[in-house]
Symmetry: C2
Subunit: 352 residues, 2 copies
């Protein structure tokens, strides 16, 4: 935690700020280790202050490392304001318009505020060893749940039943879902963000199964598309296009590469097969304390991949009214490629 | 949903606004019925527009009633901006500083924005029949879980085990926790927001058990303090003080009464018994789509209770290092008093 505060202080100085006020709770957790629901911190040269209220005073003493813990008893915004000096940055992507207005009323003379949202997120992109281990554990646990789910069979159950059982199992194993599990069969699979429904999964259908576990605060994210028996030629053909695109994109992941270029490597073969319009989302995104974080891997991304980033690679083809296929791995970017954290096979698996 | 839009339009006119842009997702759900994760709406005289993106187009058509559904394909903030006219209100308690800045860049000529956060929350305070039924069902389900939990016993299990089993049972019954269940035994009960821990619950301890269910979007909230066998004279005495304070406060609930005055009715006997400093939180809060919403029932509240509001009444005494007691009911405010949605007894129950 000490190191994170030091790295942040360097970024704050680089931006020519005297202080940075961090109010996004995930960022606060990342910097200080605090897991409660009310906290903020102020970082600058020689300054590492963590603020919370009386409810969390005890918890903060136990959890927070490398930051001075201050319990604000009454005036929460005033407690922040009095610790700001000179040009102070704040998280403008998180702070509400109303809160900023109230905070400004409490600022000491001579202090100016400047939007600096995204600074901590930049640090969070590259994971350290402990973070990589936590994400790998979450991914392993999710793999275990997929195997367990397939063992119970898909056909004849409702999407909701499959998803609910998987989430219950995840909780039994001490984790929780990092997002609402997607189980979408047949034409329902054509909705990239389908919610599991009461519909019974039939035979010979493709089933998109998108799931993530959250363990010790860190998330995993992955997708497999299964078939409940022979799904037919067209479904197989679409599956193969996605699979090849996914493998090609994995092969393109490497530190120093433009994220946009990796997206293109997946997008081109899908377009060449005539499904360019049917892959309507970006190729992937970073994963860590949040299941969607930086960097973005898409045509709009300006990010360059770095060693230690963890990203999803998840191309898909969605044919409205017919079917959907998505295949998603979670990988760590390395110097010469990637390390894949997803352990499930990617041949089209026919399951019960 | 039609009626809610109409009531909101009346408030918008009352505030001399031409339009209100609603971006808080809970507020959007309340107004339109939309349950997805990206939506906004614009309300004004003769205008009821709901905006979402392509991912939710189908879902919105199925769920949204009484609002024109518009799918914004590319420029989300631009889609909102072009539907605003004249003096337009926005939810300044929800919108981030950065989003406002981007939105302002896209406003048509002559449109000005004004902070109007809290307008929809005002509507949400008074529940209609369907909402009251949903909250009552959630509360009944939670009662069932308490009975089930007591049937399995508390002593000899860890707090985490008791809380985890209760939440798993809740999910089996089709609901989910409306907040993280609190099970806090012995001295741990002295932390009002304790998280369940690995500590085994001993004999003769007080156990604070605070739980809520969320069913069809609506929350319940309630607390009982149980004893795992005879807890001793002092614990019993503290329990009785809280119980009497709670009953007195319930007796004071009635439409037209100041929420602050109801808080005082509970606070006075606790102070008279010498525990004034040990009741460090407000008496209660509104419950609905969110587990904490308006009105607030505390010394700082300026709210006056109205027929159809649903509030908690939850005094507590917390003796650091020793024990905690909290008793919480969920009640509907009526013309001549209240209707209690919590069905569990409030005598100190000695359980296994």
């Amino acid at each position: 935690m000490q190191a994170r505060g030091d790295r942040l202080a360097a970024l704050v100085a680089e931006r020519e700020l005297d202080r940075l006020l961090v109010t996004d709770l995930v960022n606060v957790r990342y910097l200080t280790g605090f897991g409660g629901t009310n906290g903020a911190c102020v970082c600058g040269e020689g300054v590492r202050v963590f603020l919370t209220d009386f409810r969390y005073a005890e918890r903060a003493e136990a959890e927070v490392e490398g930051w001075d813990v201050v319990t604000v008893t009454d005036d929460w915004l005033g407690g922040m304001a009095e610790r700001l000096t000179g040009r102070s940055g704040f998280e403008d992507h998180q702070m509400s318009v109303r809160t900023l207005k109230k905070l400004e009323e409490k600022l000491p003379d001579g202090v100016t505020l400047e939007g600096a949202g995204g600074t901590v997120e930049k640090l969070r992109r590259v994971k350290d060893k402990a973070e990589l281990a936590a994400i790998a554990s979450a991914a392993e646990l999710a793999d275990e749940i997929w195997r367990w789910s397939l063992g119970r069979g898909l056909a004849g159950r409702t999407e909701l039943d499959v998803a609910g059982a998987a989430e219950a199992r995840m909780r039994e194993l001490g984790a929780e879902p990092s997002f609402s599990t997607i189980v979408a069969a047949g034409s329902h699979g054509a909705l990239p963000h389908a919610e599991p429904g009461e519909r019974e999964i039939g035979p010979g259908e493709l089933v998109v199964f998108d799931m993530g576990a959250k363990l010790d605060g860190y998330c995993s994210d992955g997708t497999r598309t299964f078939a409940t028996g022979e799904p037919g030629e067209r479904a197989r053909a679409v599956y193969e296009v996605v699979r090849e695109a996914q493998e090609a994109a994995l092969g393109a992941v490497r530190a120093g590469r433009q994220a946009e270029a990796v997206d293109t490597v997946a997008r081109d073969p899908i377009a060449a097969a005539g499904y360019g319009e049917r892959f309507g989302h970006g190729l992937g995104h970073g994963v860590g304390l949040e299941v969607h974080e930086e960097p973005r891997v898409s045509q709009r991304s300006e990010d360059v991949l770095e060693v230690g980033e963890v990203v999803t690679i998840e191309p898909g083809i969605y044919l409205p009214g017919e079917l959907g296929v998505r295949i998603e791995d979670l990988v760590v970017v390395t110097d010469d490629g990637h390390r894949n954290l997803s352990g499930l096979p990617k041949d089209l698996q026919l399951v019960d």
